[in-house]
Amino acid sequence: MSVIETKELMYTYPGATNSSIQNVSITINKGDFVILTGPSGCGKTTLCRCFNGLIPHFYNGTLEGEIVVAGLNVVDHKIYEFARHVGLVFQNPENQLFALSVEKDVAFGLENVAMPRDEMRKRVDWALKITGISELAERAPDELSGGQQQRVAIASVLAMQPDIMILDEPTSFLDPLGAQTIFEVINEFNKKLGITIILVEHRLDLAAKYANRVIVMDDGKIALSGSPKEIFTSEEARLIGVGIPKTTKLYQHLLQRGIKLRDVPVTPDQAAKFLREVLMHD
């Protein structure tokens, strides 16, 4: 069942001469965990903004083609109508927290849709628990680390109980452990709550193991789409400049020298497992 469908989508920012995305036709299905990647400027951020209505309603400009998200045509509905279906988490954690306490931030969206207080309280506590930050409920945002702030942003989006969550390079400012925590949290959302995830990332080595699909964009267009294994072993991906995880590179180097592992490893554990088989077998 598709949750996002676009057909030949094209968008030009106001005042720009070239379009930022062209001819984008993709289908995202319920329960997918998609990694959206590509070189800087390829249009991934622009595409994400189309999924919750920021484009065209906040940014204006010219949007052509069709785009349907959660059954709603993006052009015909206001941004706040999408907020209950699509959550968008941005790169900089600091600029997504406006309240003076964590739980007030998590409640922000719910306050906006005029949810009654009792229901709101339950939702907020639930969102904090699932994101693992219940003990931070009454803290002020500037007392938190970057990783904690980002988890608050994620909890605020989760509180709206969206079907789809889009995260635009959420771990840019975090160290690898912080990044891992974020990926584990959103993986929980995907596997346990059934939320469709679209993750824009460059750090494929850390995120790959959770995804069932990788979409590579280049120069405003969709260049490749497939499973992580397919994309990581694709020559075209390498040429576009996608950061292939070292694990897969090792597989390819061995393959070139005539050693074939059982399958394409995407994580170090998988690689160790397959290598063990080959090393013990001989």
Partner: protein, 273 residues
């Protein structure tokens, strides 16, 4: 900037902190009105002592004193202005006829200037307690429940939230430019002002960029979805609030009564000079 230190909220709790901000504000306004009504020294001295028990109960003695200390400069200025004007135009504000000649007449002018200064101090003292014992989010909540449009309340709390962030950013920008040879301490006045351009421009540009990102985040979380917003927190009046409200109303009534019927003598009159 010590006068601002005296207004900054500290995370301490006391009975005063727990009082409803709207009632506290009402109380402080009553003090303000009383300070305006009375212009004689004995009355203002009494008014000055009224906030003191609140300061002790709220355990904010040090910060409160700091705000008063910060106001000293302005207080001296007010005193000097009043004294000088009082000396040259004594008939405006006192019963002195002609010019100021005798010692008694000098003392009258002195008393008058002190009274005006004390009025200013009472103002600072009362409002300082208000800000010291009211957290910004309580304040924002009070504004909201006082039916001030949500956009303003939101602007207020967001501004408070980002002040430390912007302060940090300003420091980082200064560091970055110092590391490129910018000397902020040297040069004449004009040169120093020009030296702040490499600090101000990134600060302003980044503030604009930040607002854009905030706006995106707000829109994405259903800003504007409903005319009537609900709230996670709610301010409820408790017994202590009702007591303070009653006390304030009582104070105001007594004050107006005294103001109309009982003229308070000035200090010089009291001392039968």
């Amino acid at each position: 900037m010590s006068v601002f230190e005296g207004f900054k909220f500290r995370t301490v709790t006391s009975i005063i902190h727990k009082l409803d901000p709207r009632i506290k504000f009402f109380f402080v306004t009553v003090l303000f009105v009383m300070a305006i009504l009375f212009n004689t020294l004995p009355a203002l001295i009494v008014l000055f002592f009224i906030p003191l028990p609140f300061v002790f109960l709220a355990k904010v003695n040090r910060q409160w004193l700091r705000s008063l200390r910060g106001a000293v400069f302005l207080a001296v200025f007010i005193f000097a202005t009043n004294f000088i004007i009082g000396y040259f135009y004594p008939n405006q504000s006192t019963e002195i006829v002609g010019s100021v000649d005798t010692l008694v007449e000098y003392i009258i002018i002195l008393e008058r200037s002190t009274a005006m200064t004390l009025r200013f101090v009472v103002l600072i003292a009362s409002f300082s307690i208000f800000f010291l014992t009211t957290s910004p989010d309580h304040l924002g909540l009070a504004l909201q429940q006082s039916h001030i449009p949500y956009e303003f309340c939101f602007a207020f709390t967001t501004a408070v939230r980002f002040v430390p962030v912007l302060a940090d950013e300003a420091q980082t920008i200064m560091d970055a430019q110092k590391a490129r040879g910018l000397e902020l301490e040297r040069g004449n006045f004009l040169k120093r002002v020009r030296n702040y351009i490499p600090i101000l421009i990134p600060l302003i540009v980044n503030a604009i960029r930040r607002s854009l990102e905030l706006a995106e985040a707000m829109e994405s979380r259903a800003w504007g979805a409903s005319e009537k917003r609900t709230n996670l927190y709610v301010l409820k009046l408790k017994r202590a609030d009702y007591i303070l409200a009653a006390v304030s109303v009582l104070m105001l009534t007594i004050a107006i009564f005294i103001w109309i019927y009982i003229p308070i003598p000035s200090l010089t009159q009291l001392l039968s000079l």
